[in-house]
């Protein structure tokens, strides 16, 4: 496969209007893609088009606009099914994002299945969104959390996993890719181990889906979730994939319109999947724009993009490693384009503030992974994260800005 060339990337960047601006008098260098990616014109236009041409409430109207909107909305479910290689569209639940999806599983599957003494296994790499929902339901049910420890390179300590999995383990909930360190976790190994002892497994794919293809059937995970906004789509939408037999056995979560079959004061019956879990008018324009984001992703040459991102990662890693006193957190063998670092005893906030003054957008702080940073014995890091539209020239601009920053702070 051809490596993505400079011209390809420039052509790609033209699709992202936001990238072409000056920030504080410098060209914007956007390196906070793990927080949210920017949106191509096709996604922005999809929202515009929906409101200009066919805004209507879906699934119930008998009129023309309602039919077009319903069709457009449900078409995204089919596209999502193909995107994840799920078996059926009924396995695709639209949520407001990853956090919402995890809470849904915790409050439905968890409420129904967890018993006192049961254990939920997470890892030290989890985002707070994949810790707190489990703590809430565990506290209510008398269950507890167990934690997969890490090695010094920021990878799961696989030798510890077997002793952490037992007949008490009812659910394993881990991320596919670490948002703070970029580690790509060996989830297939863990999925097989979890199933071998009869536990269910949920994968938080928020940081994975914009970087490489995901096949839920090949993985055989029970639940998989992600947010649209980290994969070129709008905020406020996301996906929960669940195996049909699991979703069918789960009680409804929120009550309201859409999720019912019939309502009376004596007895209410619930709608079928996937609507059972989609109470109320959904984020219609968000879901439709998420469909446009999927089309955008399909238009990319995945293997060329993966190669491009790996090139950015290794180039930036080399440049950063050459800076005296700079420490990189997370040196796993398999990483997406994420680098967390600290320089000497400089506070990440100081570094981030002065990078921003030079047009470079990075993330600073704990990145919603406080347990991980406690383990690293620091309070957080400066994090850069790449997307397909970033360039080697931008890495050079970032490195130059970092040198200037360090000269001011030291």
């Amino acid at each position: 496969m051809e490596l993505a060339t400079f011209t390809d990337i420039q052509k790609l960047r033209k699709q992202f209007p936001i990238l072409h601006q000056q920030v504080n008098g410098y060209p914007l260098v956007y390196l906070d893609n793990a927080a949210t990616t920017q949106k191509p014109l096709s996604v922005i236009n999809a929202i515009d088009d929906y409101y200009k041409r066919y805004n209507a409430n879906i699934h119930r109207g008998a009129h023309h606009l309602a039919n077009i909107a319903t069709e457009a909305f449900e078409e995204v479910r089919s596209k999502t099914k193909s995107f994840l290689n799920a078996s059926e569209t009924s396995e695709i639940i639209f949520t407001s994002g990853t956090t919402d999806a995890i809470n849904l599983v915790a409050q439905t599957w968890g409420r129904k299945n967890l018993q006192p003494g049961d254990e939920i296994l997470v890892s030290m790499l989890e985002h707070h969104s994949n810790i707190v929902p489990w703590q809430l339901i565990a506290e209510e049910k008398g269950a507890s959390l167990k934690v997969i420890p890490l090695t010094g390179s920021g990878e799961w300590d696989l030798s510890a996993i077997d002793s952490l999995l037992s007949s008490k383990t009812k659910l394993v909930a881990v991320n596919h890719v670490s948002n703070a360190l970029g580690t790509i976790n060996p989830i297939k190994t863990l999925i097989d181990k979890a199933h071998a002892i009869g536990a269910m497994i949920l994968i938080d794919g928020a940081q994975a889906v914009a970087h490489f293809p995901v096949d839920v059937r090949a993985l055989d995970c029970d639940f998989y979730c992600y947010s649209a906004h980290k994969m070129f789509g709008p905020t406020g939408t996301g996906v929960l994939y669940g195996k049909k037999e699991l979703l069918e056995a789960m009680p409804p979560y929120r009550g309201g319109g859409e999720m019912i079959s019939s309502v009376s004061f004596e007895k209410t019956t619930y709608n079928e999947l996937p609507h059972k879990f989609e109470a109320g008018t959904p984020n219609i324009e968000g879901v439709i724009a998420m469909g446009a984001a999927l089309d955008f992703i399909h238009s990319l040459d995945w293997s060329a993009m993966e190669q491009h991102e790996q090139e950015l990662l290794s180039y930036a890693t080399d440049k950063l490693s050459a800076i005296s006193g700079l420490r990189i957190y997370g040196t796993a063998q398999h990483k997406v384009g994420v680098i967390s670092f600290l320089v000497g005893d400089l506070h990440p906030y100081d570094v981030g503030t002065l990078l921003d003054k030079q047009g470079v957008a990075v993330r600073t702080g704990h990145h919603c992974t406080e347990p991980l940073w406690n383990f690293c014995k620091v309070t957080g890091s400066v994090r850069i994260s790449f997307s397909v539209y970033n360039t080697i020239e931008e890495v050079d601009a970032f490195i130059a800005a970092l040198h200037k920053t360090l000269s001011i702070l030291k």
Binding site: N24, L346, Y349, K357, T379, K404, I408, L409
Partner: protein, 124 residues
Amino acid sequence: MFTDWMEKYEYIIELGKDLPLIDERYKVDENLIRGCQSRVWLYAERMESGRIHFTADSDAIITKGLVALVIRVLGDQKPGDISEADLHFVKDVGLHEHLSPTRSNGLASMIKQMKMYGLAYAQK
């Protein structure tokens, strides 16, 4: 006031070096102002003159400089003057972006806390 951003930040960082530092024994959670990223500790004591003396510290040096700047203005003033103070100067020197409540350096919360001290002592 400043010709470029570098000069401005170098000046802020310099200011931080003159910050009246909080005594280590007061550097406790009770005196911690919670911002999202950098931490600020603030301690207030009433002098014999009736004026309020502030001491503080931060783990980020830019925040430390900004804290020093605010203490320069609000420190060693009468309680009523502190609670009523107009911090327009911050805007004038082009630092207002740091004071918006949405900024994560805790500075807006710190000023609010200082004014609360002013108000509390004014009523005593």
